[in-house]
């Protein structure tokens, strides 16, 4: 029997987006309530899908009742369920913040774009077809272009232009890779591709490997891997804070796609092509990490610094994926949850600081003391501890788990050096910006910043509180991520679940 669970998280935001178009007549207040309602509904739904995925294994939905590999399938497994839940959680905080700061008043249709963004994200996490993944990528990108440019402003337009152009180039490369794989293997269903990977003749192995690496470039653009990350700081630092916080999940889509596509296609069953991407990812991860930390140092504003911190978290995750064992994957997933939520919180904090400092905004220069400076400084301290990976918050646990899984790896010393050096430099850079922002107070002029927006601060604090929560709940969360890593290692069960799915007979 075809299960409906994979399709519901895709449908709900789509219906929400369409419903919001009709709510335009009812004014902003109605749009806000409807948008909140649908996002809250998505959290409840994704909690349920996670429990279904954990208890009942792979859930497969055949679109249009076409059998795999002929039709498109949506597949829910534990990894996609976790990603969908994470998206829903983060989007709730981003939406609450956008409402608290009136970001949605700066232009039309913020809420519609927001729901369509969630539609694209959930679709990308749940699809089991390579071409359908391309389509959902385009959906989420088009919505993200709208959200990124929402509110206008020339720096935003400039960053947005780079973002759009590089992603369009990425889309072309994606289609080249998809076409090549189809030309050699005659299928686009991920399970079927993985199944046929072992039968590729020796002549065609080079072509398939080239297509796979081309896909890695495409996902590398999404995930912002060296040398394809240069668009990220400009785009993320100049957009509105709520959108930047939501975009903390966007780079993770690229990482998810690498785990899903390359992990499934080039798993153990792939024969000579197995694991062709892992060493590359490890080196690229370490290189990206060091360059991202340099960026954290060189950043001239807090938002830019937050963008480079997102990049550093992506790089750490790449190292985790590149270590390529079950424990490392489990550790990476824990760190992924942490870094997405706290990366988002960092953007919200940067925005609060920028608003509090008035004309000095979030530039790293000494300025008159802002309102409620002690509270904001303490929030900065806690966020910095969480994101740099210091005890006792969740970043520390994530990094310890990743390093623990690296013990015994041939490149062990390189991994330890890169991750630990990266953390140290990150901590120094954050300490420096903290002292500039909160200690080096310039007494000569008066602060022209606004008072602190209580609602927005409350949203930011509650997002930040998820970090200690992740530490308290580390037992159950790591139990879940270990289970996910085990399920991913067994790609044969994924292939069997998809290819043995029978159609609904209608009687």
């Amino acid at each position: 029997m075809s299960s409906v669970w994979p399709v519901l998280p895709v449908l709900l935001p789509l219906i929400g987006g369409i419903a919001l178009l009709f709510c335009r007549l009812g004014g902003l207040q109605l749009q806000r309530s409807v948008s909140l309602l649908f996002t809250a509904g998505l959290i409840i739904l994704t909690l349920k899908t996670l429990s279904v995925a954990v208890t009942e294994g792979h859930q497969v939905y055949l679109l249009g009742n076409w059998l795999a590999p002929f039709g498109i399938v949506l597949v829910l497994d534990q990894l996609s369920a976790l990603m969908v839940l994470l998206t829903a959680l983060l989007s709730m905080f981003a939406l609450l913040y956008a409402i608290a700061q009136d970001t949605d008043k700066q232009g039309e249709d913020f809420h519609t774009l927001f729901q369509i963004q969630l539609f694209g994200l959930n679709g990308a996490f749940l699809t089991g077809d390579l071409f359908n993944l391309f389509v959902f990528f385009e959906v989420l990108l088009l919505a993200s272009y709208g959200l990124l440019l929402h509110g206008g402003g020339r720096l935003r337009t400039k960053g947005g232009l780079h973002y759009v152009v590089i992603n369009l180039v990425g889309s072309s490369l994606f289609l080249f890779a998809v076409g090549t794989l189809y030309g050699v293997l005659g299928t686009l269903n991920m399970a079927d591709l993985a199944d046929k990977m072992a039968t590729v003749s020796a002549d065609d192995q080079g072509i398939v490997a080239a297509a796979a690496l081309l896909l890695l470039v495409v996902f590398g653009i999404k995930a912002a891997i060296f040398p394809l990350y240069l668009w990220l700081p400009g785009a993320y630092a100049n957009t509105s804070a709520a959108v930047a916080a939501l975009f903390a999940i966007m780079t993770k889509v690229g990482l998810y796609a690498i785990i899903r596509v390359h992990g499934t296609l080039f798993g153990e069953q792939a024969g000579p092509l197995a694991g062709l991407h892992t060493d590359l990812l490890l080196w690229l991860g370490m290189l990206t990490l060091i360059l991202a930390v340099f960026g954290v140092f060189a950043a001239r504003s807090l938002k830019e610094q937050a963008a480079f911190l997102i990049l550093a978290s992506v790089a750490t995750l790449l190292v985790g994926i590149g270590i390529d064992n079950s424990a490392a994957l489990s550790a990476s997933l824990y760190y992924l949850v942490h870094s997405t939520l706290i990366g988002g919180a960092m953007f919200l904090l940067a925005d609060l600081v920028a608003r509090g400092r008035g004309s000095y905004a979030d530039k790293l220069r000494s300025a008159p003391a802002m309102a409620r400076a002690i509270m904001m400084g303490s929030l900065f301290l806690v966020s910095a501890i969480a994101i740099a990976g210091m005890p006792p918050l969740s970043g520390f646990f994530g990094k310890v788990l990743i390093l623990d899984s690296a013990i015994g790896h041939p490149l062990q010393s390189w991994i330890f050096t890169a991750v630990l050096l990266g953390s140290l430099l990150m901590m120094i850079a954050l300490a420096r910006s903290g002292s500039i922002l909160f200690y080096q107070v310039n007494e000569e002029s008066n602060n022209d910043g606004g008072t602190i927006n209580t609602k927005a601060t409350a949203v930011m604090i509650s997002l930040l509180l998820l970090s200690p929560l992740l530490v308290v709940a580390a037992g159950p969360v790591t139990a879940l991520t270990e289970q996910i890593a085990q399920q991913l290692a067994d790609s044969q069960s994924y292939i069997n679940a998809v290819l043995s799915q029978s159609a609904v007979t209608g009687k």
């Binding site: 389509v135 088009l142 206008g152 337009t157 400039k158 232009l161 152009v165 072309s172």
Partner: protein
């Protein structure tokens, strides 16, 4: 016939890449359009080149052509069309807001900031 198609794809891709690397927005838009044309022809040929064959099962047909690449190309055309339209509007917006049509429209902004800071110093 294969080599003509391969040549066409190759030339369009090369021209597309060259244009995407240009400094002004309009050539970049043209380059992306050429790239998407190249991709569409490429996807189409991945179903192998067949002339005058049926795509849908019928009792009279002796051989078939692969219908899937046609569906893929159709989807890709629609998406590329929408994206190009969006990019043109964005390029126009950038032209009016940044005051020039450079992809990296920073020159103007940096210059203006320098003028502003000089004015501040003068005060």
């Amino acid at each position: 016939m294969e080599w003509i198609v391969a040549l066409v794809i190759g030339v369009m891709t090369a021209s597309g890449v060259y244009l995407v690397l240009r400094a002004r927005t309009f050539p970049v838009v043209l380059g992306l359009t050429l790239l998407s044309y190249a991709v569409n022809v490429f996807l189409f040929t991945m179903g192998r080149l067949q002339v005058g064959q049926a795509a849908i099962i019928s009792p009279d047909a002796t051989a078939y052509t692969d219908p899937l690449p046609q569906a893929l190309v159709l989807t890709a055309i629609v998406i590329a069309f929408g994206m190009t339209a969006f990019l043109i509007v964005l390029a126009l917006k950038a032209r009016s807001e940044l005051g020039n049509d450079h992809v990296d429209g920073l020159h103007y902004v940096a210059e203006e900031q320098a003028v502003k800071s000089r004015q501040k110093a003068g005060d």
